[in-house]
């Protein structure tokens, strides 16, 4: 016990000791967890830093130049690019259509809470609560399974080709669209709605003529953001044979044609960047870090009839390009396929022997996610300081120019170099990094760890730098003015202020990496994805469904743990 009289002198030193103890404990816990999961993640630095590993890296890097630009290759890639574009468009539209029936029931203000339902009887509200719970659960479930896993499932149902890809995109993003649009609907101004209800309007009327007009700009803006996401997904769907440019990439990597890989990477990055630019230009908003979904504050000036007709025209064009007109789909008899598939897949294989046999893969998935995030943090932290404008750009906080134009140019080069590196690292999807990592270190979980770490370094590095740029600069100026070196300013000025936010981003990323770790196995980079792919290839549909359910449980658990940890920090 500290007596009040002594408190003034004791508290600081005990706080310091407490901080030291916590730091030590955290370090120990982290070290122990890394040691514990090292075997699961098949950590093997010598595979990378051996003569063979380094030789493979240089081999790939040298092979990338010159990129394949032959007419033959480009005329092969061109249609695939259009196919990817069509996939992404149909994916958004299908997602919207699939989400539609759930949205109204997933909007709590319409089902069971708030002023609109205050006067309804207990039974009606109980029914509303039930409908709400069911809709939200469905949306969460379809969202938790990664799109590549859905794509594999749909390939087993309707066969190879873009239909499987459209279905995978539609189902995955229906979950996201339903959840976020429902939240947009919940967040509109309730007072005009109460006035409508007071005038005797039904809830359907309140939804259509009170909520939708208010929510329209945010909803359109969010759908553009979703298109951005479906494009990112569409470029890799081809890896599992679900259409798009990803298939060409898989073939080129497997045939060691790195010049083609270079061309395809540029094409993929360009597609994603173009979508991003179009979407941002219409939304009039900057891209926000993942997790913040609604990136629109500007008023969307597109009238509803225009956005509707654009959607219809885009859908028609995309569907006819992919040969997925309604009658063409009907001719493929998808329902008959689904019924036949269901008969083969149900009931899922929950036999003790099979479930136990998945445990090593589940453990490997977790180990991969954990190791990759630690590696990414180790890489992103030091790099992010170089990408912090207040640190490296001349004329800012640290006055790096100091009169010398050479130093100023050096600072600019550092800043734009690291920013560019981060953009590149995160623009290449995890699964593509996995294909490349396998070339270097061979198949297995270690390749998966490296792949996830590369992508995550790009994401986290950029987020860290943004957070550091946003920290209050006044105390830093004082530190710098007192003659502190840049590293000291970073360590003692920026880091403590930004730490909670940095940790929040990192933990959120851990959740995303668990999700990604479940699919990189599809190309042989370890984890449960490998089992998913094998069982799909060998027609073990009972096992396939079980694995999807396990994936779902794994991602949901990561989601729950991550949001618990983030609440703990904030």
């Amino acid at each position: 016990m500290i007596r009040p009289a002594a408190a003034g002198s004791r508290v600081p030193s005990s706080a310091a000791a407490d901080f030291g103890r916590r730091l030590l404990l955290t370090t120990l816990a982290l070290g122990a967890s890394l040691a514990l999961t090292a075997r699961g993640a098949e950590i093997n630095p010598s595979a990378l830093f051996s003569y063979r590993g380094l030789h493979a890296v240089t081999q790939v890097l040298r092979g990338l130049w010159p990129p394949a630009l032959s007419v033959e290759f480009l005329s092969y890639v061109g249609p695939l690019v259009l196919q990817t574009l069509a996939l992404s468009l149909l994916g958004v539209l299908l997602a919207a259509i699939l989400a539609l029936p759930f949205i109204a029931f997933a909007t709590g203000t319409l089902t069971h809470w708030g002023a609109l339902v205050e006067m309804e009887s207990g039974e009606r509200r109980a029914l509303g609560r039930l409908l709400y719970a069911v809709s939200r659960t469905v949306l969460n479930v379809v969202r938790a399974v990664p799109e590549l896993a859905w794509a594999i499932v749909f390939v087993t149902v309707v066969g190879l080709g873009p239909l499987a890809g459209v279905l995978a995109l539609g189902v995955t993003y229906a979950g996201m669209v339903g959840k976020v649009i429902a939240e947009v609907l919940e967040s509109v101004d309730q007072r005009p709605l109460e006035a409508l209800a007071q005038a005797g309007a039904t809830r359907a009327q309140v939804l259509l003529f009170g909520i939708l007009p208010q929510a329209y700009p945010d909803a359109i803006s969010f759908m553009l953001y979703v298109w951005d996401c479906t494009m990112r997904a569409a470029v890799i769907l081809g890896i599992v044979g679900a259409g798009g440019v990803g298939y060409a990439l898989l073939v080129s990597v497997n045939t060691l044609a790195y010049g083609q890989v270079a061309t395809l990477l540029v094409v993929m990055l360009a597609l994603v960047a173009l979508t991003d630019m179009v979407s941002v230009a219409i939304r009039g908003a900057h891209v926000l870090p993942p997790g913040t979904h609604i990136a629109a504050r500007k008023r969307i000036a597109i009238p509803p009839w225009l956005s509707l007709s654009v959607a219809v025209i885009a859908a028609t064009a995309a569907a006819s390009y992919l040969g997925l007109q309604p009658w063409a789909i009907a001719a493929q008899q998808p329902l008959a396929h689904l019924a036949a598939w269901g008969a083969k897949a149900f009931p899922p294989d929950f036999s003790w022997g099979f479930v136990v046999s998945t445990l090593p893969a589940v453990w490997q998935t977790i180990a991969m996610a954990f190791w990759s995030i630690v590696l990414a943090v180790v890489l992103a932290w030091p790099l992010s300081i170089l990408a912090t404008s207040t640190v490296t750009l001349p004329g800012r906080l640290l006055e790096l120019d100091g009169g010398s134009p050479l130093r100023a140019a050096f600072g600019r080069a550092l800043y734009w170099g690291t920013r560019g590196l981060f953009s590149f690292l995160r623009a290449v999807p995890e699964i593509v990094w996995a294909l490349l990592a396998i070339v270097v270190v061979g198949p297995g979980a270690f390749a998966g760890v490296l792949a996830l770490a590369m992508h995550t370094t790009g994401v986290l590095g950029r987020l860290y730098a943004d957070v550091l740029e946003d920290t209050e600069t006044r105390p830093l100026e004082l530190l710098a003015g007192a003659g502190a070196r840049p590293t000291s300013v970073w360590l003692f000025g920026m880091l403590p202020a930004a730490l909670p936010q940095l940790l929040t981003h990192t933990i959120y990323r851990l959740e995303m990496n668990v999700r990604a770790a479940t699919v990189v196995g599809i190309v042989g980079a370890g984890g449960i994805g490998q089992m998913i792919y094998n069982d799909a290839q060998t027609y073990h549909y009972h096992a396939l469904v079980t694995l999807i359910i396990i994936t779902l449980a794994l991602v949901s658990a990561a989601d729950a743990i991550s949001s618990y940890l983030r609440r703990l920090i904030l």
Binding site: A115, E120, E194, A195, Q198, G200, A201, T202, P213, Q214
Partner: protein
């Protein structure tokens, strides 16, 4: 009374039309009060377990022919009482009756039907900003139509419906705003649109929660006179909450003084003394 609204009302032709549809409450032998509160209490549960009795054991009757104003300091429970009367929220204890029937016994369609006969005008934020004025006005008809009918009306309004909206707007003096977008209106215009929507409902009661608080005094007085005229010509009950005592005294024959959720007095305006008002608004530190 010489008010800007009365001239407009006299010119409106659809008035007779509306009146034919009114239930003949005024002439029934033993009139059922339009609204009746019997020991009505409403409890709100705030954060960290705080409990507020916004309205506490209020017993009151309101009949068609007698306009009344609720007055009292901020937080006296005026808004909550109005919302209880209008069937927007439920009483925690006691009971609130509309046309002799408890709000509690209404649900779903019967709740909407009863609400559709009450015109409610809130202080602000009555309207859906991104719609046209005529759409906001015609929303007053939602109680009489299904969702498809409402959709049809909003996309292809019949001439008859547009006329109805135009007529209601003419009666509140802003006929020219029929096709404006609602978020381009001034505060006074917005309140008039809200009143026009209430008129389209063909209400048997008009309730208003500080309907003139967002208006300048002159405009406020004009809107109050308009509401009184409309209530008289429609034969509708009129209950408003007002924070401006001078306006309440000038326009209303009956004043209900509320303080801390309870009725402090309920008297004809002539009998309300300055002392009583001082007591009502006094800042006590008991």
């Amino acid at each position: 009374m010489n008010s800007p609204g009365s001239a407009v009302v006299a010119g409106a032709e659809s008035r007779t039309n509306v009146r034919e549809l009114q239930p003949p409450v005024l002439h029934s032998p033993a009139p059922v009060p339009a609204f009746e509160a019997k020991g009505a209490t409403r409890v709100f549960h705030g954060r960290n377990g705080r409990v507020a009795r916004a309205v506490d054991g209020v017993t009151l009757k309101f009949v068609q022919a007698e306009p009344a104003a609720l007055i009292g300091p901020s937080g006296a429970g005026k808004t909550t009482l109005l919302r209880l009367l209008a069937g927007a929220i439920a009483a925690t204890e006691g009971d609130v009756l509309f046309e002799g029937q408890s709000w509690r016994s209404r649900d779903g369609a019967s709740l909407r039907e009863a609400r559709s006969r009450i015109g409610f005008i809130a202080q602000r934020h009555n309207l859906v900003d991104r719609l046209a004025v005529w759409q906001n006005v015609l929303a007053g008809r939602f109680g009489h139509m299904g969702t498809l009918g409402a959709a049809r009306m909003f996309v292809w309004p019949a001439q008859r419906e547009l006329d109805q909206a135009a007529d209601a707007l003419a009666r509140v003096g802003i006929a020219e705003l029929l096709h404006s977008r609602t978020d381009e209106l001034s505060g006074g215009q917005t309140q008039r649109v809200a009143i026009a929507r209430a008129l389209v409902q063909r209400p048997i009661a008009l309730l208003g929660d500080e309907p003139v608080a967002s208006l300048d005094p002159e405009m406020g007085s004009a809107v109050l006179a308009l509401l009184r005229d409309l209530a008289r010509t429609e034969g509708a009950a009129l209950i408003l909450s007002l924070h401006d005592v001078r306006l309440a005294r000038a326009h209303f024959p009956r004043l209900v003084g509320l303080r801390a959720g309870s009725v402090q007095f309920d008297l004809p305006t002539a009998l309300v003394t300055d002392d009583m008002l001082r007591d009502l608004y006094s800042v006590e530190t008991a």
